[in-house]
Assembly symmetry: C2
Homo-oligomer: 313 residues x 2
């Protein structure tokens, strides 16, 4: 048994005018509750510190940069680091990162119980588009404001296990989980801001969106025999609804805890990292069963190449 | 609209003493019913023609080879081909293939409406083990009797669309779907013989097995925006129960039809291949969103390599 008590800190909506300081207060309130539950780790969502700003089309770089953090911790977030260290609790959360050489990333960090940043991840699969798109019901401009992550999908030894991170749209891609699975990951944490409607197909509403949210994370967990912890920023931001459905999934792909609201809400579960072993040594013992000679186009070919007419492929 | 009416022909148990001729009669009965439903395509399971023989440990090569087909069609199966051509119905089914140069594969073929074999697939991900394993509740000797498929994951233009196949354990591997997804697949058909209990963990029973069966196929469908059609050989063979749960999944990952029994049972659905387009051109538009530079270990590394102690990776 290698037990880790994980608190998933779903955040309700954050309005445009809310400050980082106000958000950090809400985060600390959830952390206080997590401490009462004996949490070793608290997991906050993608871009935790502000509203989901990629829904706004902006052209002024100073305005864009106002959503980014150029230091971490910084004045607004240091209380979070201080309290977590005081509690002896590891934390992970997402924020918009502006590097000293002017690069913009959608980032998450993992801070261990001693307050050290032991993991950093920058979102690889940026969804949406880079220019204003009048054919959409609303904008999703991540490809405008961020560049693709340049750290790959690292994993880290921390809390006695092997941890990895991804962010939001990354969770829809089986490659995300597989790369970390090949590094022996035992728990993947991820945050998301997922609109309750598909901007290009309004008939795809929250029920479908929650279904896909569960499906991809459950499959990623099962197929790599790893815990997966997904946490939402939820509720209605500036008229734009986001799904909740934060959840904890065991290495067999089963949901063991799931949020019920679209507000700030804590769900807690004690996860035995050793329960990853069975799958990793039997049906998903990669060394015995994977056939990489048949996978080559997965890494040699980005897009689709259809077979010629009247031809196989 | 590019409609294909698909009949999924779940087969109930086939006992050891049943002959190919008896099985083909059952297959034709299902084909007759499929014709009444206007089917363009009928899909039969893995190793349709016999009991699931890899549960038996055999050492005598002649005994082993007695489960294999060295020609296709052959005397036992020609009535199937003849009837399908008469009906103008495409068919796909699995069988144990012995090649003229002595190779053994777990194979499935796709026969078009004119009776021509337009597609062949040989199972890549062989589960189980190659020697008698006294630690298992029962044997699963696919690695003993078959060699891994040597055809990759081909797709074929047929019935006005792009079709691919895989077999049983292949469906648990996201790479299977992705390789075909990268070739624009619109419908993947697959058969399975899945024991109702995990041979290495009897607490994992039919409910869990059916859950995993759905999960991996639904994820594969959604993540590649393709139809997935899975068909079981089901019921109790020689005291060994196999799950049913044959199903048809749409490109959004939703189950649109599912078998209710563990017997010979037909489920039918008209599938619009054009419903693949939305996913393939938006969230899963691979050319815009995949990041192959971050996937390299998926094809360069077969097994797990864990990070060193006190180190990232």
């Amino acid at each position: 048994m290698k037990n880790i008590t994980v608190a998933v800190a779903q955040m309700g909506p954050i309005q445009k005018a809310e400050t980082r300081e106000q958000v950090v207060k809400r985060m600390i309130k959830l952390m206080d509750d997590a401490k009462q539950c004996g949490a070793d780790l608290i997991v906050y969502p993608e871009l935790t510190l502000t509203t989901f700003f990629p829904r706004y089309f902006m052209e002024d770089q100073a305005e864009i940069d106002s959503w980014f953090e150029s230091e971490m911790p910084n004045a607004a977030t240091i209380p979070l680091f201080t309290k977590a260290k005081f509690y002896g609790m590891a934390i992970t959360f997402g924020y918009a990162e502006l590097t000293s050489d002017g690069k913009h990333f959608n980032t998450s960090i993992f801070v261990d119980k001693s307050g050290s940043i032991t993991g950093k991840y920058r979102k690889v699969h940026l969804p949406g588009h880079s220019e204003y798109d009048s054919n959409r019901d609303f904008q999703h401009l991540e490809k405008r404001y961020f560049q693709p992550g340049d750290l790959g999908f690292p994993v880290y030894r921390t809390l006695g296990g092997i941890f990895g991170m991804c962010i939001c749209n990354d969770r829809r891609w089986p490659e995300t989980y597989r790369v970390m699975g090949l590094k022996g990951v035992e728990m993947i944490t991820l945050g998301y801001n997922t609109p309750s409607f598909n901007s290009q197909k309004s008939a795809e509403g929250s029920e479908d969106r929650l279904f896909h949210n569960r499906l991809v994370q459950q499959a990623g967990a099962y197929q790599n025999s790893t815990w997966v912890v997904g946490v939402a920023k939820a509720g209605i931001e500036d008229g734009h609804p986001l799904i909740g459905g934060s959840l904890i999934i065991d290495p067999g792909g089963k949901i063991v805890a799931e949020a019920k609201t679209e507000e700030d809400e804590l769900i807690v579960h004690t996860c035995d990292l050793d329960s990853c072993i069975f799958g990793k040594t039997t049906v998903f013992d990669f060394s015995r069963h994977r056939r990489i000679e048949d996978y080559s186009i997965i890494t040699s070919q980005t897009g689709v190449v259809v077979p010629k007419e009247k031809d196989g492929s």
